[in-house]
């Protein structure tokens, strides 16, 4: 986007006007004193560790999986072999997001979709196949369970497999997700437990982990889906910390574990890395600053270690174009650069075929290569917070912080993050922005190379959508029948009955969920309990 006249205003995505150049005078007074802190000093906008990437590179962490659990296993092994340094289990949306088994009528009606966006894992046996030969103990695994109602099942399945393999849960590292922005804002499923039940689940997961899996990141407070659905960077920040406050307040209310411990666990967050390079890097710096201030000012937490905000980033899927997919390699690389300049701890780069399908092997490989090039060849890892001290970056960081807190406060006056999800207020904000963004493209005020301009494509490569396998449904159906036929039926039924009792009460759900997985209860049976006990969330949007 180029303005016609240098005097015309240019706005950052957060609606902050950008000057054509910055000087020291532009840095707001409130932030000026903080400019000269070193990385490793509060409020940590410059990073938590002075040695930055010199001592620990970011984790190369790619979303992966489709088809049968063995197909996902194969793709994860491919990525690990190619250089990723953690692995993420993707679950089939039709089943996992809804906690349906493949024989549910809604799934049957769409049987060919099964396995397209993730592997089908209906019981602990499937999870074991998916994790076969994977370095659960030495690598960093993401168990999946991005959707809130799926999280307890996905986590328990992973941990049950780990236990069976003889790993000590108290030293097992990895992460869950149970992401409110994904579940209730960005990707509204056909059926879902209400937000208050979701909060209960996440409180339980946090408490369970602090007691039994201290190295595990229980949930990941995530901005990605808020942002990719339309929230601007300041709104992404504001809503993410409003989400964090819901969890911390819940833990405080329960009074069972020290707040610092929970805050430390909740300090694993994730953001979207979009394509406005400087604004996105500022966003990460702003995030660390806001977390540090939030803990001290709102919760009076003095332990500095808790302020270590570990950020995972995923590059914006919505910025990947359908036309001229090769251009997306550049986009992915640049978004990755902004994340690295922002000092993130973990990164996933979207595939160049993102607008067409889940990534092909080659696209996945390229996502890893991009990160390796940044790491090995560019010198980006040599200096911590290289943008620190830039008049522009410090000004924009400060302005972002201010705007984000204002959005955070607005959420609080409207009853908090959960209330804003239930009422549809956040959805309305996202929609407003989506519309604005689309209008900018439609009117020609914003350009997308290859889409609104530069249509000529001499690429010799024919890139089509990746379609995974075609036997995911059939095999899943067979395996479902097999599990039900060969498991200890009484044990499974008893575990499910216990689950229902716990769901209706207030005991922690995770121990009984572990029992369910170990007794080989299936995903759909667990989902049926939820539907019976919690009912369905009333979605504020109709689409």
């Amino acid at each position: 986007m180029r303005p016609k006249d240098p005097q015309d205003t240019v706005q950052a995505c957060s609606d902050i006007p950008l000057k054509s150049y910055y000087t020291a005078e532009d840095i707001p007074a409130s932030h000026a004193e903080r400019v000269n802190v070193a990385p490793g000093e509060a409020p940590y906008h410059r990073g938590f560790h002075p040695s930055g990437y010199r001592s620990k590179p970011w984790r190369i962490f790619q979303l992966s999986g489709f088809g049968k659990p063995e197909d996902e296993n194969e793709r994860i092994k491919f990525l690990l072999k190619n250089g990723e340094t953690g692995f993420i289990m993707e679950h089939d949306r039709n089943t996992a997001d809804h906690c349906y088994n493949v024989d549910h009528p809604e799934v049957l009606a769409r049987r060919e979709d099964v396995g397209l966006t993730g592997a089908v894992m209906q019981s602990v046996r499937d999870t074991a196949i998916c994790l076969d030969g994977l370095p659960m103990d030495t690598s960093f695994g993401h168990a999946g369970g991005a959707v809130v109602q799926h999280a307890p099942f996905a986590l328990a399945a992973y941990w049950a497999v780990a236990k069976k393999r003889g790993y000590d849960l108290s030293t097992l590292a990895g992460t869950g997700q149970s992401d409110f922005n994904l579940t209730y804002l960005g990707c509204v499923t056909k059926q879902q437990i209400p937000t208050d039940a979701g909060l209960r689940f996440n409180g339980d997961i946090i408490e369970f982990c602090t007691e039994h899996l201290p190295r595990w990141v229980p949930v990941s407070i995530a901005g990605y889906n808020g942002a990719d659905t339309g929230l601007t960077p300041d709104q992404e920040l504001g809503s993410l910390f409003a989400n964090a406050v819901e969890y911390l307040d819940e833990i405080q209310l329960r009074g069972r574990i020290p707040l610092e411990v929970a805050a430390r666990a909740c300090g694993g967050v994730s953001f979207r890395a979009s394509i406005k390079i400087f604004e996105e890097a500022c966003k990460m710096r702003a995030a660390r600053l806001m977390w540090s201030d939030l803990l001290k000012e709102r919760y009076d937490i003095k332990d500095e270690r808790v302020a270590n905000l570990r950020i995972h980033c995923v590059t914006a899927g919505s910025k990947m174009a359908y036309q001229q997919p090769m251009n997306n390699l550049v986009r992915g690389a640049l978004m990755a650069v902004s994340a690295v300049l922002g000092g993130v701890q973990s990164l996933g780069v979207s595939g160049y075929d993102e607008a067409l399908s889940i990534p092909s092997e080659h696209a996945h490989q390229m996502s890893v290569r991009i990160q390796q090039i940044l790491m090995e060849e560019t010198g980006l890892t040599d200096v911590t917070d290289p943008l620190g001290g830039s008049y522009y970056v410090e000004t924009l960081t400060a302005q972002l912080v201010e705007k984000s807190w204002a959005f955070f406060e607005e959420i609080q006056t409207r009853g908090g993050y959960l209330a804003c999800l239930d009422s549809g207020w956040l959805h309305a904000k996202a929609e407003e922005n989506q519309h604005k963004e689309f209008m900018q493209t439609e009117s020609g005020a914003a350009n997308i190379v290859g889409v609104t301009m530069a249509h000529d494509d001499s690429s010799p490569f024919e890139i089509d959508g990746f379609i995974g396998t075609d036997d995911a449904f059939d095999v899943a159906l067979e395996r479902l029948k097999e599990v039900k036929r060969t498991r200890h039926e009484k044990g499974a039924m008893r575990a499910l009955k216990d689950l229902e009792r716990v769901c209706r009460g207030s005991d922690n759900i995770m121990p009984v969920m572990m029992d369910c997985l170990e007794a080989e209860a299936t995903l759909g049976e667990v989902g049926d309990v939820y539907r019976e006990v919690f009912g369905d969330w009333r979605t504020p949007i109709q689409c």
Partner: protein, 129 residues
């Protein structure tokens, strides 16, 4: 002049709602009555198309093309005169299959003005190509 009615349905169980909402809103702003039925099976789509007596069926497609093709076949069989258009994450091979059935297809990057023009044309409000 009575407004034309457009049905918008999602054939998959994927909950991303960004795309459909923007299109629905653009169509509403262009004077259409948009009946959004969300994630719906083939039978639900056909029932809605018939009972709502829509002038155009819009499918948001995001998964395996066979799921969408089933819905297309069912609508075309129940109401051969009812036009259908489609949008969403539709890879090139799938676009071709939909076009072969007579649909206009709008993959990501499509302009809203083109979608609205198509709706006008398919519902008989304009004759421009």
């Amino acid at each position: 002049m009575k407004p034309k009615r457009i049905l918008m349905a999602k054939t998959g169980l994927d909950g991303h709602w960004r795309g459909p909402t923007i299109v629905a809103r653009a169509l509403r702003d262009a004077g259409f009555e948009v009946i959004m039925i969300g994630m719906a099976t083939t039978a639900e789509i056909v029932a809605a198309a018939i009972d709502e007596d829509v002038d155009l069926v819009g499918l948001n497609i995001g998964g395996h093309i066979d799921v969408a093709l089933r819905a297309v076949d069912a609508v075309q069989s129940a109401a051969p005169d009812m036009p259908i258009f489609a949008g969403g994450t539709i890879p090139p091979h799938a676009c071709k299959q939909l076009e072969a059935k007579g649909l206009e297809v709008f993959p990501p990057g499509s302009m809203l003005t083109d979608i609205v023009d198509s709706a006008n044309r398919l519902t008989g409000l304009s004759t421009a190509p």
